[in-house]
């Protein structure tokens, strides 16, 4: 293994802090305001009202959520809005012990794909599960594929037309 070791000089934090090395900072700033358009715009407005909606394609008869104005299978416009339940079934889930910036989490997050009642099979929302325990073992004990869940909404006055207007999904009857 000796031949893979090269003589190098390691850089320490104090080398940077005491300006012993040259350094350039190049911060990235990107600011965007994505046009929601017809389908997502209506979906977000309905979330604010505490409702879930989908779009139906009359040809393949699928009800899609999140809704879209086109059917990707038939390549044609979708036809009508369909009210959905705020209940569903866990299609798959994971127990995540790190935050998005790699901090260890005291209480793990439980991201899940939830097939929404009233939409076609496999059509669902990506969200988090809550009230399912505080440790990996507890969560794995209570959550399983096929678990029935229901949305827990923010109080109406605090909703803003965002996916976070649903706080999380919790087991039905929990």
């Amino acid at each position: 293994m000796e031949r893979w070791v090269y003589p190098t000089t390691g850089l320490k934090q104090e080398d940077l802090e005491e300006a012993r090395v040259c350094m350039t900072r190049a911060p990235l700033r990107g600011e965007y305001a994505w046009d929601a358009g017809v389908a997502v715009g209506r979906f977000l407005a309905e979330l604010k009202a505490g409702r879930l909606v989908g779009r139906r394609c009359r040809v393949c008869r699928r009800v899609m959520v999140p809704p879209r104005m086109f059917c990707e299978q038939c390549f044609r416009p979708t036809d009508e809005w369909v009210p959905l339940q705020d209940t569903g079934t866990v299609l798959t889930f994971s127990v995540c012990t790190v935050a998005w910036d790699m901090r260890r989490l005291e209480v793990p997050e439980v991201p899940a794909v939830i097939a929404i009642d009233g939409a076609s099979p496999g059509m669902g929302i990506l969200h988090k599960l809550g009230e399912v325990g505080r440790t990996v073992d507890e969560i794995l004990d209570r959550v399983h594929i096929g678990l029935r869940v229901q949305a827990v909404w923010k109080p109406p006055r605090r909703r803003e037309g965002a996916i976070t207007d649903i706080l999380y999904f919790r087991p039905v009857g929990a």
């Binding site: 358009g37 104005m69 086109f70 038939c74």
Partner: protein
């Protein structure tokens, strides 16, 4: 590259926009509209007939990393070959042609779009393309690069600034007869010269304003094209090139990237005298002087001649060689990565005699040339014809 060993034609074209803002449509819905038009125009069902999709897009313009993963659904290309080019739309066209020429596909869609209005700090995003060690710390708006280049161009070619302003007047007026154009206007030379200075000698009116829009084409192998349509537009030559990028010692005068790209495209198309080869030209005019510089790089006139040519009216729709009858980027709006496809769209409509009030009579051949924009030195060229 010698002649393409497979004939490839454009058999369908569609678009959405172009507009300065488009809050009513998401980028997906905008693409669906343009794609539906293109597939209807080509008479194909994408779920049955489409072999692949090529898109041109830049993550920083979308605000989504790996944004090409967001395209197949609204293009009818789910579970098809999807290929993305980080470059101008004409480079995506080249990729589509190569897929057909290589025998990998019979029918390919080419797409690019702009939601420039959604990028709240577009100028700073452009600045991110500059060198982080040498250039970004100076904190100068990247439009200064156009100012540097324009000054060299005026000096070396002895072109009066009025001739640069004339390009703006012509293109924004052409846009008055183009329903796709976002910025049609009837301006005077003084309006252009007296508009807000940006990077002297460049004024605001000499810089194309960004716009939202989407352009989609359907390409087909020659034999397939003949069964689909009786008015195919044939792609006779393609070329693209990138020059050294450094601002410290790049070529400031001749747009060598486009000269190189054009030589390749002309060789492929068997064109020896480009001056007499085309009935119309759609060329990048992101900044008004770029139209002049690009016309010279394309070999359509000698260095220093394009300004005088423009001043004499030779590049007007009724002139010797109409240039940007669509209104160009100045008149239609700058569609970011889709700019080259916007130029191509006008050329295709002209060759199909579908350009309405701005139709160039008896247009049989067209030249299209794009530039990837600040701060790049990348250009692409396509030679189009009504005959294979």
């Amino acid at each position: 590259m010698r002649r393409l060993n497979t004939e490839v034609a454009i058999v369908g074209a569609g678009w959405s926009g172009f507009r300065s803002i488009s809050p009513d449509l998401s980028f997906r819905e905008m693409m669906f509209e343009a794609a539906t038009k293109a597939y209807t125009d080509a008479g194909i069902d994408p779920r049955r007939d489409l072999d692949g999709l090529v898109t041109a897009e830049e993550d920083f313009h979308e605000g989504i990393a790996i944004s090409d993963e967001y395209v197949p659904d609204q293009m009818g290309a789910v579970l098809r070959s999807v290929h993305t080019i980080a470059g101008d739309g004409l480079q995506a066209l080249a990729a589509g042609v190569m897929q057909i020429a290589a025998g990998a596909a019979r029918i390919v869609a080419v797409e690019s779009h702009s939601k420039a209005s959604n990028v709240l700090n577009l100028d700073q995003i452009t600045a991110l393309a500059m060198d982080p060690v040498f250039q970004r710390p100076l904190e100068v708006h990247p439009v200064f690069i156009a100012g540097l280049e324009l000054r060299r161009y005026l000096e070396v070619t002895r072109t009066p600034i009025e001739h640069v302003a004339r390009v703006v007047v012509k293109n924004r007026r052409n846009a008055l007869r183009n329903p796709r154009a976002a910025f049609p206007a009837d301006l005077s030379l003084e309006d252009v010269l007296d508009s807000e200075p940006l990077a002297e000698p460049l004024t605001r009116a000499m810089a194309a304003a960004p716009a939202d829009g989407c352009v989609v084409f359907v390409l087909a192998r020659g034999d397939v094209a003949r069964t689909l349509t009786d008015r195919p537009v044939w792609i006779r030559g393609l070329g693209w090139a990138t020059d050294s990028y450094t601002l410290e010692n790049r070529d400031w005068e001749g747009a060598r990237y486009l000269r190189q790209a054009a030589e390749r495209a002309y060789r492929q198309a068997g064109i020896r005298s480009p001056r007499r080869a085309f009935d119309l030209v759609e060329v990048d005019d992101t900044f008004a002087y770029k139209e002049l510089q690009h016309l010279e790089a394309l070999g359509l006139c000698r260095p220093g001649e394009a300004g005088w040519w423009t001043a004499e009216g030779a590049t007007e729709v009724g002139g010797e060689l109409p240039v940007n009858p669509s209104g160009g980027c100045l008149g239609e709006g700058h569609l970011l990565d889709a700019s080259g496809l916007a130029r191509l769209l006008e050329a295709v409509l002209q060759l199909r005699e579908e350009a309405g009030p701005r139709q160039v009579p008896n247009a049989r051949t067209a030249l299209v040339a794009s530039w990837r924009g600040l701060p790049t030195t990348t250009g692409a060229v396509a030679v189009l014809s009504r005959e294979p």
